[in-house]
């Protein structure tokens, strides 16, 4: 390590390379943290955890006992056991006793991406609530048609403040915080929607995974989904082969000819959203990530094409996570598979993630490192880390005693937080040599003791 520091000083390696090396090394050394403990205030399974995106300091957790809590993960509230263990107690706790509290289990709790003044919870009592963090009051509520399975807000959005919400209903609804009403109702899934993810490269693109096994891509500026991922369409390698024209390949892979599509789709667009067609042309030129969008856009959402019936997983899609550059999408399904999709081509990259067993009944929260090298997947009672590109198991984090529902990576500190059915929130942090040295003196009790 010191050699690298010297190299960086000498200018042999770039600062960014240095930081990424340090970070990846630290991520590789993750283990259950003995010195940082989050005292979970929940009396039910933890379903969702997230650290706020602005300060990286406040951990929001939602649990099955209809409680939601916020923990400060930087500043410990007290130190226990001879000052060795930092205990983080909840700063804010809202449960059923609260006047605006949810009645049933909270399935998802997310921060408002711009600041820590608001957070959003979705619950099985069909409600989505927007909370003011400082007063701990619900300031807005949306009534959904079914149990809410997941909510999502775009972290890069500048032009909208939409909460995408998936529920037991087939329709995905977008709730506008500014107006307090639903702006969109996206229909296309044939079953409840388990998980939602906004694209991290385009603020308009929403990806949803449903219980029908489909992953659909929606552009919120236009009607209908423009892409349904098909597990049978695959490519070898991370990128589509260069020898072939990607546009051509996409067109060829479609069963209905593009011309026909456009002929049929354009009038319907005009009918449903008269103002959209005009915007479309400008949008399509701007979007670089979806070069074959012109063909896809014209697909009618309700059209019964075989494309529209494509599935990404056998069974339900339980988790979605886009890489931070927005080029790849990871999905987990109740078929105990993890799939890596190339967003641009919409193809399955055929990375073979090693055998795993996933929880099937609940939405899972996956975590991907920012350099897109490692993905953390809750596999029953453990968390597995896989290399994203090879699918090789890289680490198994064991510590929970019941199924893990969610994990979240704190890229800034290289820590992982995980929530499980055993009501615990565990912190996984890299082994720190300084800490172990420091405790060397006080750790007299933990020594070899060979009496015979």
């Amino acid at each position: 390590m010191w050699k690298e520091v010297r190299d960086r000083e000498a200018g042999k390696i770039l600062p960014r390379l240095f930081t990424s090396r340090v970070r990846s090394r630290r991520v590789a050394a993750l283990q259950l943290s003995n010195h940082k403990e989050i005292i979970s205030a929940h009396r039910g399974a933890i379903n969702s955890i997230q650290v706020d995106l602005t300060e990286g300091r406040y951990l929001l957790s939602g649990a099955s006992d209809a409680s939601v809590a916020i923990y400060d993960i930087q500043q410990a509230s007290d130190y226990g056991e001879r000052g060795l263990i930092a205990k983080h107690r909840s700063l804010l706790f809202v449960d059923k006793q609260h006047e605006h509290g949810h009645k049933f289990a909270i399935s998802s709790a997310i921060w408002y991406p711009i600041d820590t003044g608001l957070f959003i919870t979705g619950s099985f009592d069909h409600d989505i609530k927007v909370w003011d963090t400082n007063t701990a009051q619900a300031i807005m509520a949306y009534k959904m048609p079914g149990k809410v399975y997941g909510t999502a807000m775009s972290s890069i959005a500048t032009a909208h403040m939409l909460i995408a919400a998936g529920s037991a209903d087939v329709q995905v609804r977008l709730c506008d915080i500014a107006s307090g009403a639903f702006t969109h109702t996206l229909s296309g899934h044939r079953d409840g929607v388990m998980t939602l993810e906004w694209s991290s490269s385009s603020e308009w693109v929403l990806m949803t995974g449903g219980c029908d096994g489909a992953i659909r891509f929606w552009d919120v500026r236009q009607a209908g989904c423009f892409l349904v991922l098909d597990q049978l369409r695959s490519q070898l390698g991370r990128r589509p082969p260069l020898t072939e024209n990607p546009l051509k390949k996409v067109n060829a892979s479609r069963i209905t000819p593009a011309g026909k599509n456009s002929a049929r789709a354009s009038p319907s667009h005009k009918r449903v959203l008269p103002g959209n067609a005009m915007k479309n042309s400008t949008a399509s030129t701007k979007r670089h990530n979806f070069p074959r969008g012109s063909a896809a856009q014209r697909l009618h959402p309700g059209m019964s094409s075989s494309l529209n019936r494509a599935t990404a997983h056998y069974g339900a899609v339980t988790g979605l996570r886009a890489t931070s550059d927005g080029m790849y999408l990871l999905s987990s399904g109740s078929d105990s598979r993890l799939r890596l999709w190339d967003v641009e081509s919409g193809c399955n990259t055929l990375v073979n993630f090693e055998a795993m067993r996933l929880q099937t009944s609940k939405p899972l929260q996956l975590a991907v490192t920012h350099d897109s090298s490692v993905v953390f997947v809750p596999c029953m009672t453990s968390i597995r880390a896989y290399h994203l590109w090879s699918g090789v198991t890289f680490q198994t984090l064991r510590g929970h005693y019941e199924s893990v529902n969610c994990c979240y990576i704190n890229w800034h500190d290289q820590e992982i937080y995980s929530g499980s059915n055993d009501r615990k929130i565990l912190v996984w942090s890299p082994i720190s040599s300084t800490v172990s040295e420091m405790e060397g003196e006080s750790k007299a009790a933990d020594q070899d003791n060979w009496s015979d």
């Binding site: 510590g399 929970h400 005693y401 615990k424 933990d446």
Partner: protein
């Protein structure tokens, strides 16, 4: 642990040792093997890692006994090696699910009795680990919390229990201290009154005594108390006389001084039964109390001790003067005992004068003699004793009544029963002839078996202790019953000549050793030594020959077995079976899994098979049919 652990390098020995240690039916790990494992694991880090993996493999075996022993070994290593702990806690959830069996889909394997032990043992050691290393290993805390808070397992709670006991003891102590202090405060207030009370009683006694003694001096010598005759004929009686004379010196109660004696007795009783214990109690309170006022305590203590001494001295005075109540009552009791003894002698409960009771009677009568010395038996105490010793002991019978040798007839109705209103003829003058009476009075005796004391077998048992089975000649477990010493080793008696010789020679040896220590070797001993040497040589030669023969036999057997194994599996099995039949059947891990066939099972086998149930149903139906037909005979 999805991947099988990489095969350990050949020099790693712990996995082999662990496998050996856990493959046993004993409730504990063989201590020698455990020691070997520990010393091997201590050798290097590699060994410890291999041990952790091997133990985890053993934990996965579907047999509770193996897991139980593995848990023992894990505990031993866990408490000792830091590296082992660090390596082991990573898979703690797996270990717990295998040892506690808290997952519904992974219950503990059979046998169930050992599975229960395994669970309680694992919970206990988890608590211990958590108490000693919980700070350093988050996994331990998590596992402990999960089992305790989520699954609500009952932990033995050793530490907390100990703390609670300590707390309780402290509280109890505090309470007693408080009570003592309260008493002390009480005493402070009432000290003078208590003292004056006691002083008053003591004074009273003193006065009474004074009056009594003065009276005595004025009095003549009283004749001795009734019932004491003087018979100077024997030494014994003379002694008694002396005693009674001494008694006569003392003050005696009579009609004149009765009032004084009553008062004396009363205050004496007050003193001994109330004041003395209370003073003792106060002293103990003062000794135990942890008071601030030390000066008062010391003075009070001193005074109480003085008071106690005073009371004791007064008591002594009283007893010297012979007026204490205690002596009187003691004599009364003596007389009562005598009366009872007399009654008992004539009407023993079991109608048999057994030896001890007879002896007692003799004693009684002799004591009676000594005290009363009645004229009839005064001839000679010794004679009487001799006669009594010779006299046969008879069972009680009507014969013993005072009609010995009487030859008269007896009225049939000599008790005057009312027989008038009975039917039939009544002869009030019916007489039983004398010969009939004699016939009825013929002395009879029943044969009574001598109670034989059956000695216990006393052979040493495997689990310690001696066999307490009582059989007449032959214990079914330990063979013929022979006299044994306290440790269960047979004391040889009347054995074959050689054994006898050996014993003798041993004795001789001992003697020799003793003698040599005194430097007194005689010719006889030298001769004995020579004889023993010759015999020892003979024995040695014999045993050598025997050992040689045994070696040859063993070799032959081995060769045969090898040949058999090499030839066919069938013959190998046969040979093996042969060996098995010769040996006692050894308990194996597999045999533990077999269900024992109990009497209940056998009965169930007989009663619950389909044929039995069918037939019983048929019987019942027939019975019902016949009942119905009997009840309604006119219906078809």
């Amino acid at each position: 642990m999805e991947m099988p652990p990489p095969p350990p390098p050949p020099e790693v020995t712990t996995p082999r040792l662990i496998e050996k240690a856990t493959n046993s039916t004993d409730p504990e790990v063989d201590p020698r093997l455990l020691k070997a494992i520990k010393s091997a694991a201590r050798f290097s880090d590699e060994e410890i890692r291999a041990a952790a993996d091997a133990l985890m493999d053993q934990m996965k075996k579907p047999h509770s006994q193996v897991r139980y022993l593995a848990v023992h070994v894990v505990d031993e290593l866990f408490m000792r090696s830091k590296l082992f702990r660090a390596h082991f806690v990573v898979n703690l959830d797996q270990f717990l699910s295998l040892s506690v069996g808290f997952r519904k889909n992974l219950p503990l394997p059979p046998p169930s009795a050992i599975a229960t032990n395994l669970r309680s043992k694992s919970i206990e050691i988890l608590e211990k680990w958590n108490a000693s290393f919980g700070i350093h290993y988050k996994q331990l805390r998590l596992g402990f919390d999960y089992l305790k808070d989520t699954l609500r397992f009952q932990f033995p709670n050793r530490i907390e229990n100990a703390a609670r006991m300590q707390q309780e003891r402290r509280e109890r102590q505090l309470r007693t201290m408080q009570i003592l202090v309260n008493k002390f405060e009480d005493l402070k207030e009432n000290f003078t009154s208590i003292k004056s009370d006691i002083q008053l009683t003591v004074d009273e006694i003193r006065e009474c005594l004074g009056i009594a003694t003065i009276e005595k001096e004025n009095r003549l010598h009283f004749p001795p108390v009734d019932g004491e005759f003087e018979e100077p004929s024997s030494i014994l009686l003379r002694q008694i006389r002396l005693e009674s004379l001494k008694e006569g010196d003392k003050v005696h109660e009579n009609s004149e001084n009765k009032a004084i004696f009553d008062a004396l007795r009363e205050s004496y009783k007050l003193l001994t039964s109330k004041h003395l214990p209370s003073v003792q109690e106060w002293i103990s309170v003062l000794v135990r109390v942890d008071a601030t006022d030390n000066t008062f305590r010391d003075t009070a203590l001193k005074e109480f001790i003085d008071i106690r001494n005073l009371i004791l001295s007064v008591k002594k005075e009283c007893s010297e003067l012979g007026v204490s109540l205690g002596q009187n009552t003691a004599r009364d009791e003596d007389e009562d005992l005598w009366e009872e003894g007399k009654v008992e002698a004539y009407e023993p409960s079991d109608h048999t004068l057994t030896e001890p009771s007879a002896k007692r009677r003799i004693e009684k009568s002799s004591s009676a003699e000594s005290e009363f010395s009645v004229g009839e038996i005064s001839s000679s105490v010794a004679d009487r004793g001799k006669l009594l010793a010779e006299a046969p002991v008879l069972a009680w019978s009507p014969l013993l009544f005072d009609k010995w040798g009487s030859q008269s007839d007896v009225l049939a109705n000599h008790r005057g029963l009312e027989v008038e209103s009975h039917w039939g003829r009544v002869d009030p003058d019916a007489v039983i002839p004398a010969e009939k009476i004699a016939e009825l009075n013929v002395h009879r005796a029943f044969y009574k078996e001598e109670p034989v004391e059956i000695r216990p077998c006393l052979a040493p048992l495997k689990k310690g202790g001696l066999c307490q089975r009582r059989d007449l000649r032959h214990c079914p477990f330990h063979g013929p019953i022979i006299p044994r010493d306290t440790e269960g080793n047979p004391i040889e008696q009347g054995l074959p000549a050689q054994a006898c010789d050996e014993k003798h020679s041993e004795e001789a040896d001992n003697e020799l050793a003793e003698d040599e220590s005194f430097n007194e070797s005689t010719d006889l001993q030298l001769a004995r030594q020579a004889v023993r040497n010759v015999r020892g040589r003979d024995r040695e030669a014999k045993s050598l020959k025997r050992a040689k023969l045994a070696r040859i036999r063993r070799h032959n057997e081995e060769v045969l077995r090898a040949a058999a194994i090499a030839s066919t599996s069938y013959s190998a099995e046969a040979l093996h079976d042969d060996g098995g039949a010769v040996k006692a059947k050894k308990a194996t891990l597999a045999s533990m899994l077999k269900k024992k066939v109990t009497a209940r099972d056998r009965i169930a086998d007989r009663l619950l098979n389909s044929r039995a149930t069918d037939s019983s149903i048929r019987q019942l139906k027939l019975g019902e049919d016949s009942k119905y037909r009997e009840a309604f005979p006119n219906q078809w």
